[in-house]
Symmetry: C2
Subunit: 521 residues, 2 copies
């Protein structure tokens, strides 16, 4: 069999059966082989950033990698921003980049570029297969690398001639599951003993610790030892809702985070990193750990759930986790704002929903309004590269066809990867997208105001125009309809709640263009 | 003044007065400074690939660089594909990438990434300014590097604290125009003498040689010495139309190129490279130079016009270039196809128009149908990274507000950078976009058929589905309307010619969704 067929067989044999694809000529043998490997589901995206963002969302929900098929260096380049987010989410992704035939590269044809350099910028593992006999083994190595805890991006570069040449074989390979590093006893004992000392202590959760098991262990520790618990600002997947332990996220702005961490003397990291501000600001510290606070590492990402469980069993054997009560806000009425959208979401969110949150500034009221909704998972923008929401919703819906996906999407960010809507329609995914249409980059208007506050005067009209999305005003009903997604506009809370209830009860994708005022006036 | 202000002043002082921008927090001081430097026109794009593609189109028409303002590594990543095209077009572009503050990088904040590696993959010059006192000088060096013939991408990485810190100064710098390398006399004499030897000779034009002056010189040489003339497959900017010398482009597929080059014994390169096939195919050569054909380099890109002119003066002093006659096809009637669109364009193209061509397979009939239209410039996809057409049309229109821009755009490629339409509406650019809506990646269907022809049988339905854009069918009227561009659909040649005539007579952008059959049935 040829390399393409062997790669597909090996992927499927190792449990990778979804491929988000945006192929070109150099991947045509991979495409041609798809009909011989029906277990592989290939999902077409119209832009590579949709494919990579979908793989991120898929991995966060499925807990295993999807494959992504990209075309040469420019195809990989278009997918890099969402691979950056996936890297920061520490999820497994298997990226297959088709390249020119090995003997063709010397000619510097128009699409020739430095694929390796681009791949290394986001990948924990990169290999170029140059001999067709190695395709199967290389694929197994790639999957092994991608799935070793806590998960990473593995990029396999597949030259066209390796893809089309015969002589490859299916590699039955057990992907080598690396044994989980046991939690160090000494660390556990040290931290357990610290917890009894009565210092003001904060447990900061990240990585795998934000699942239900990790949160429950952390809540037991909090109950027994009187420590406070936070999770990192942008968790990859946060288990939330009634009957689960509630945890606040560390604030995005340094001022908010500082208030949360004020007075903390010991910061214990479980799958999280010592907090730093997202951006630097003149005269403000980058590190958010308060002066005089010690930082202790309980566990790296990928081992945090096990470590928290062991710690809870050591210090909180009889403690009971505090679970969020079921508590939905009333359906909102009146003006449509970020607040009333949050209330509607809190009131209507279905059981076991997946919320993909790229609402940015407009979504500030969401955590409180949804804390008592039925159990759900919350996915956030882990790496700051906007344009993740719509694609991640595609991947999450494919990973969990029985669950409702609610994509809460800022307007400016939506325009980075809008064609994800087309894939939602093509695959008839049960995704409800809410566009927070405030016609501005509100987060940047806020940042500009902060700049103005230090400088001589307020920002001028030319600066403000660069952060304004109107004129022309984006019509997301038209955009969604143009890509096959039924859509409607809401301008009041009543219209929004009716549209949301209807969308959540419908088959296939829906979009609500929620027209709200800019936070910045 | 702070670094941001000094950078803006220095750019404007060196003649760079357009900035395509997609800023974020780390560029906020650059944004804030815009109101103090009114000579800089900042153009907002909703996605970085639009900003970089616009800079490419701008440079091809203006002959000088625009600045591009991008946000950190992911912003640069999103812009790389169109920078790849710009690199292959050998045009000058000045990329400014805002980075985290110098002291903030050590903390590996969520948006931290390897900007330098990404920048080097497309740039001929990269520098990171780490001291505010160097901002002005570094900007001048960047412009010098970008504009040295034949043009390249210069990337200046500007940390946020360098941008906001005082102590920078305007750099009056004459950007150091590098003297053009004089054409080597020995090369000229050698090639002049070869031309008299009667061997079958082909002059292949590329780079700057495809402007009116280079084409005229080549045509004189052809007339005097009996050589044939072709230009490279994807010229950055080809001067065409009635009253200018006509030149055929080298074919895209190796079979077509081989036929054009058949029997050639001497290939003389003027700003072009020895032709290679765009992709490799099993059992087919990558090099397109026929066996037994010698290749001679007359001039590198950037010096080809001067070299051709000198050669013409040496061997063809009295020869007259052969100019294309004015010859428009009749207005087409009946079915709307790639052929009838080509005829309509040939019949209606305005004087001095700029055609941005990303029509791909559907545009095969265009060169013949437009050869006798009034003089115009033709811009092509130089680097093969699709999604260049709409953005390049934005840049071309801003470079030449008095000229009509006609963007001939394949549907699949349009979906890589659709938000360029929004910028066309915001800036009210006189761009008419024609979408070749055949609901398929026709070029890939053709490639898949070629694969099938070598393999056991024809491709299966799962492979074909990956190359099909329907369902759902993309509605470009809705997409354009959603971004503020008036649009209409054409399904017959009559509807299309009426829509095109109206669009070309209108102020501001228009889009025609031209529904055509797939070439592949």
């Amino acid at each position: 069999m040829n390399g393409a067929r062997a790669l597909l067989d090996t992927l499927v044999g190792s449990g990778i059966d979804v491929c988000f694809a945006n192929p070109g000529t150099s991947e045509m043998h991979f495409v041609a082989a798809l009909d011989d490997v029906p277990a592989m589901r290939s999902v077409l995206t119209l832009f590579e950033g949709v494919a990579t963002g979908a793989a991120d969302g898929y991995a966060r929900i499925a807990g295993r990698p999807a494959a992504v098929l990209l075309h040469l260096g420019p195809g990989l380049a278009n997918g890099l921003a969402n691979l950056h987010n996936a890297m920061r989410a520490r999820v497994p992704v298997l990226v297959v980049v088709g390249d020119h035939a090995t003997y063709h590269k010397q000619f510097d044809a128009p699409l020739e570029s430095d694929i390796d350099a681009l791949a290394h910028s986001v990948s924990g593992w990169v290999r170029r297969t140059t001999d067709v006999r190695n395709v199967g083994a290389d694929a197994v190595d790639a999957i092994t690398a991608a799935t070793a805890a806590p998960g990473r991006i593995a990029t396999l570069i597949l030259p066209a001639d390796v893809s089309w040449t015969d002589g490859a074989a299916f590699h039955a390979g057990e992907t080598q599951k690396q044994p989980e590093t046991p939690v160090a006893e000494a660390t556990l004992r040290q931290i357990a003993s610290m917890l009894g000392e009565g210092e003001t202590t904060m447990l900061l959760l990240g990585g795998d610790a934000t699942g239900e098991q990790g949160l429950t262990a952390a809540s037991r520790i909090a109950a027994a030892a009187g420590v406070r618990v936070l999770c990192e600002t942008f968790p990859a997947r946060l288990a939330r809702g009634a009957g689960r332990p509630a945890v606040d996220r560390l604030g995005y702005f340094a001022e908010a985070a500082a208030a949360q961490l004020d007075g903390v003397k010991r910061l214990i990291l479980a799958g999280a990193r010592a907090p730093v501000s997202f951006f630097a600001y003149p005269g403000k510290p980058s590190e958010l750990v308060p002066p005089g606070c010690d930082v202790h590492m309980l566990a790296e990402p990928g081992q945090a759930t096990a470590a928290l469980t062991a710690l809870a069993d050591a210090v909180a054997l009889d403690a009971v986790a505090e679970m969020a009560p079921r508590d939905r806000p009333p359906l909102p009425t009146g003006a449509l704002t970020g607040q009333s959208i949050a209330a509607a979401v809190g009131a209507l969110l279905p059981e076991d929903a997946i919320v993909v949150d790229e609402s940015n500034t407009a979504g500030l009221a969401l955590p409180t309004a949804t804390a008592g909704a039925p159990p759900h998972d919350w996915l956030t923008l882990t790496g700051g590269a906007i344009g993740y929401g719509l694609p991640a919703a595609v991947g999450a819906a494919i990973a969990a066809p029985d669950r409702r996906v609610l994509c809460l999407q800022a307007d400016g960010s939506a325009m980075y990867t809008p064609s994800a809507l087309w894939t939602m329609a093509r695959e008839q995914l049960d995704v409800t997208t809410v566009i927070y249409n405030n016609s501005a980059y509100d987060i940047l208007r806020l940042e500009l105001q902060r700049v103005g506050a230090q400088a001589a005067g307020p920002p001028g009209p030319r600066a403000e125009a660069l952060l304004d999305l109107d004129p022309p005003r984006l019509d997301f009903v038209a955009l969604a309809s143009g890509m096959g997604v039924p859509a409607g506009r809401a301008t009041t809370a009543e219209e929004f709640t009716a549209a949301l209830a209807e969308a959540l009860a419908s088959q296939g994708p829906r979009l609500i263009d929620a027209v709200i005022p800019s936070m910045m006036g």
